[in-house]
């Protein structure tokens, strides 16, 4: 049954991607991309990757789509007719694709437990991580503990992306924004429902943050969900309102605070006589130390991701406000 669902969903995914090529209306292209992300999240669930599906649904279908829509508001929604010949790209793609398909025939068969990928590192994680780290969710154990250094690097990449976006677009200060209220002034239903939902979304983000050790979730997903709540607020009540709730300067401080929190856990474990990010030294009992370490670094990741996603949205949103004023 799972194989059948896999067949159907992957075929739908391929059709969605194919449709993107022929559409000239970029608004529809971005909407199709949102559908594409949701479909891939479903496929990830079907392939047992629940944490990944969670991230893809909130990031790919949520934040990416919103950012692309904001960009479309600034750059226009139709692609112009393009007179270039499609023969050469088609040829390149066909040849590359044929080579890759030929390559897949040497791949080990899908889902076989004896595949090389399942023989080396993974069995140790699966057998030892519940004892060594003490968490039921192996993905969190590997992400935060065994590969903690890698995750620190990725958090820094996310942080530097925010620096890049702010350097390119800049963030308006509150006084520079148009004084009159923007947002959906006449949509009373939307405003009431948004007011009801935003606290619930933030509550859910906190649940995802702190329940990530036991079920799917963690800092990355929680940060994105919390950012989505504030983005909803900014969309419905207008950017100036959102700025007075969470200021852009404060967000920049938060983004750097998260990275520092993560790195300082590593330094602290060095002071305690272990290696960088060796959480076992954080408490007398190694397993308890792992728990403390993972909770703190997941919090650091969550804060950074939240602040970065919201700063990026603020940067794009203030560009839209600016072009509306002109």
């Amino acid at each position: 049954m799972a194989e059948f669902i896999d067949l159907v969903l992957l075929a739908m995914l391929a059709l969605t991607a194919l449709r993107v090529i022929f559409l000239k209306d970029l608004f529809a292209v971005v909407m199709l991309f949102g559908i594409y992300s949701f479909l891939s999240a479903l496929i990830f669930v079907n392939l047992d990757a629940v944490d990944v599906a969670f991230t893809e649904a909130s990031v790919g279908a949520g934040i990416s789509t919103v950012l692309m829509l904001v960009t479309l508001a600034l750059t226009g929604r139709t692609e112009k007719e393009n007179k270039r010949s499609t023969v050469l790209p088609l040829l390149v793609v066909t040849v590359t694709g044929a080579a890759l398909i030929y390559g897949t025939l040497d791949m080990p068969p899908f889902g076989d437990p004896n595949n090389p990928i399942h023989q080396h590192v993974a069995p140790r994680y699966i057998e030892e991580s519940p004892k060594e780290v003490g968490l039921p969710n192996m993905v969190t154990s590997v992400l935060a503990s065994y590969r903690g250094f890698d995750t620190l690097g990725e958090t820094v990449v996310v942080f530097s992306a925010a620096i890049g976006v702010i350097a390119l677009l800049g963030v308006r200060r509150r006084e520079d924004l148009a004084a009159e209220e923007s947002g959906f002034l006449t949509h009373h239903v939307l405003r009431v429902v948004a007011k009801m939902l935003i606290p619930l979304i933030i509550l859910f983000a906190l649940y995802v943050q702190f329940h990530g050790d036991f079920g799917p979730g963690g800092g990355f997903q929680a940060g994105v969900i919390a950012a989505a709540a504030f983005i909803l607020y900014a969309l419905v009540f207008g950017l100036p309102q959102a700025f007075s709730v969470v200021g852009a300067k404060f967000l920049q401080l938060m983004a750097s605070f998260g990275v520092l929190l993560y790195a300082s856990v590593g330094l602290y474990s060095m002071f305690k006589g272990g290696q960088f990010l060796d959480y076992s030294k954080l408490a007398a009992d190694p397993v308890a130390g792992q728990h403390y370490g993972i909770i703190i670094i997941e919090l650091g990741v969550g804060i950074t991701v939240f602040a970065v996603m919201l700063s990026i949205f603020y940067a794009f949103g203030s560009q839209v406000e600016r072009s509306n004023v002109k």
Binding site: L18, V30, F110, Y125, L143, R147, V308
Partner: protein, 118 residues
């Protein structure tokens, strides 16, 4: 039939990858190029997750009485890659916004012509 089931996921991955690649090299509009890049990126995620799947396994969260789990390692790699992916997409989109401000267009051939004129 067995051959198809064994390689179906990989073939779809190659198809998606090539669709994304085609959009990136043939589209004229920069926003559409970014969408193509994202399709390409998601196909790579799909490849990793497909390799991590074990038939008969469950999600890698410890449950009483389950012995067969899917491989958690690709999940970790892809989870972080998705968030990094959206961060880099945001940088790409903000570059597009700057290009629009500087040239007044986001169609590739148009702003290249303007570059030539200068």
């Amino acid at each position: 039939m067995n051959l198809i089931l064994d390689y179906y996921n990989y073939w779809i991955v190659v198809f998606l990858m090539m669709t994304g690649f085609y959009i990136v090299i043939s589209a004229n509009n920069l926003v559409k190029k970014i969408v193509g890049l994202n399709i390409f990126q998601t196909s790579v995620f799909m490849l990793y997750i497909s390799m991590g799947k074990v038939t008969g396994g469950t999600a890698p969260i410890v449950v009483e009485g389950v012995t067969q789990y899917s491989n958690p390692l690709p999940h970790v790699l892809i989870l972080t890659a998705i968030v990094v992916g959206v961060a880099t997409t945001a940088v790409g989109l903000s570059l597009i916004v700057r290009i629009k401000r500087a040239y007044g267009t986001v169609e590739e051939n148009e702003f290249e012509n303007k570059d030539d004129a200068i």
